[in-house]
Amino acid sequence: MSDTTDLATYAMRLGDNALVLGQRLATWTGHGPSLEEDLASTNVALDLIGHARLWLAYAAQCEGRGRDADALAFTRDARAFTNVLLVERPNGDYAQTIVRQFFFDAWHLLVLRALCASRDARIAAIAEKAALEVTYHVKRSGDWMIRLGDGTDESHARMRVAIDDAWPYTAELFAMDAVDDAMVARGIGCDLAALHAPWRTYVETVLTDATLAFPTDGVMHGGGRAGVHTESFSYLLAEMQSVARSVPAERW
């Protein structure tokens, strides 16, 4: 692949993660378990969709095929989406939403902080901006891990189920492929494998505070970054894209 193709893929992956998780969280709007949580999840969704717009605009510019951020978000089919599987996991109950969020937030903050040192000025600028916002995301989701894990018997039991459910999707966050290797070699991307240890350390600290056991690795899933998604993803995409696809030339 050419240099700009790798760069476009790299930016697209960051954008797709933010977009898909933002869309998942947005569906909590008006349905949150409390007014404060409704506002918080909506705010986090807003931040993520804002990041997605910046990453996808850069991806579109790098690929140079005349598409813009909206075209990438609303006209691609599932096979062309490069997000990790974790972010497309269904919302489930609030334990599942929080565990998915916490595993992602802690990884996201590490990635963004590492990308602040990118040799690509645009990537470094977006990462620096986004890292400030994501710092609040991980504080919030970490607080809820502890509150629910060290809460009632019911909340603790639900958190255990949620952790077992999400854990097999965490390995994909740290898997390096040819695009990552090329980006690291050029000083643009970050070494995901090197972030695994700091991520585990932080997750373990929070799980301990939450009186929750650290899970063991079993069969781990992946493939999202290569466009192989889970069944629920097609429903998310259909809902997210339906208006843009039914009136493609409309502006509002």
Partner: protein, 178 residues
């Protein structure tokens, strides 16, 4: 034929001081520290005034409103061609809020952000250390007490958190250090 109006950059900055933040109208967009640069370019009929602003939070819906408000304010002053440019780097921080802006926030009932702790290495990967030192130090805008309790990290706008004063029981918004 009317003479072409070309106000000075200093005049434009002064006018932008009168453009309120749409979400917190007691402070102006200059108090907020988001106006980065102003310059003229082009010749003749194409002469254009560019205002460079930086987003507070990238997904904040107020940014679109601010853009429109800037164009409207300058158009009212007779500037025909205005271009609003969004500049990402360096990233906006609450340290750019003016002293005047902080005082206006406090008087309005919003606890202003404290200066950020710049000692920490922005690229360090130890999240336990990083996040352990992130606790906000809000002060009650009503009685000044530092004995306050966090209600939620995300308030009515992306830039604010909600607190409650333990001393005087007042609930209040806190502008997060960012």
């Amino acid at each position: 034929m009317a003479a072409t109006i070309e106000p000075s950059v200093a005049d434009v900055f002064a006018w932008l001081d009168a453009v309120p933040d749409p979400e917190i109208p007691v402070i102006s967009i200059r108090d907020l520290g988001i106006v980065r640069d102003v310059w003229w370019s082009g010749e003749g009929m194409e002469r254009t005034l560019t205002i460079s602003i930086t987003p507070t939070y990238v997904g904040c819906p107020a940014m679109r409103v601010i853009e429109a408000d800037i164009v409207a304010a300058l158009s009212a002053r007779g500037v025909a061609h205005t271009n609003v440019e969004m500049r990402l780097a360096p990233a906006w921080t609450t340290d750019w809020l003016t002293a005047n802006g902080r005082e206006k926030l406090r008087a309005y009932g919003i606890s202003p952000p404290r200066p950020r702790d710049l000692a920490a290495d922005p690229r360090a990967l130890d999240l336990v250390a990083l996040l352990g030192t992130l606790e906000e130090r809000a002060a009650c805008p009503r009685c000044g007490s530092l004995d306050v309790a966090l209600v939620t990290r995300f308030g009515s706008t992306p830039c604010k958190a909600q607190y409650r004063c333990v001393t005087c029981r007042e609930p209040f918004d806190h502008f997060k250090a960012h």
